[in-house]
Amino acid sequence: MTALTQTNPAGQLNRYPPGDLAIWIFILAELAVFAIFFATYAFTRMNNVELFNQFQQHLDRDAALINTLALITSSYFVVRAVAAIREGASQICVRWLLAALGMGVLFLAVKSAEYGHHFSAGINLSTNSFYMFYLSLTFFHFMHVIMGMVILAAVALKARRGGYSIEDHTGVETGASYWHMVDLVWLILFPLVYVMH
């Protein structure tokens, strides 16, 4: 699908969101799946309130805080990368993307440590309903973080080779939009699974 977004002069609104329109259709499909997941979690909890509240207390909120801050920060770095390429600064764009990837690595490391802790305690998908949702929801999101990092790495590689310019940087905006979606989903997942009871 061809790019439909052009950067308009200040003050003018665009007809389409930044990036390739195909990624937005993909993003909406992904968001719909996560919405179903969230609603299913909430309605399953409705019939198991005590169980969900009890085991939610066992989760590591410090790790979740670090991960939330990591994703918000990485999203900000990606915004800076897009701003840089819109000014034609490819190498600055690459640096911001690498910084965002660094935050992604931090997220994966912290989440992996959390999983390691759970698995060493004998917790798995069949432990109870809460852990079934917690593990499947967070792992599904974990896979999206990896996917987002692969996309950002590919964009950074192309930017490093001078593959984007002021006139043609749809690829950077496309990767950025996907990464923001990953952040967006976590911003709902974090309070729902770790805090709300």
Binding site: F43, M46, R61, L69, V78, S177, L187, I188, V195
Partner: protein
Amino acid sequence: MVALTLVTYSIGRLGLSGLDIALGVLLLALIKGHLIGAYFMGLNRVQGFWRWPVTIWLLLPGLLITIAFVLAEG
């Protein structure tokens, strides 16, 4: 967004619970989500159909989660 995240974390850390608290935490999350959509994704510079999907996405699960938590309380 960082400040709102720290508020959410503090509520969890303090073990505050109850329907009002839970829905307040959810509201903070929806506000953060709106900020991501509007300013990071750049949808505040878009007109027409494509301006709204993220907002609608936030409201839909937000509403369903609210209903589930209210029913769980009752």
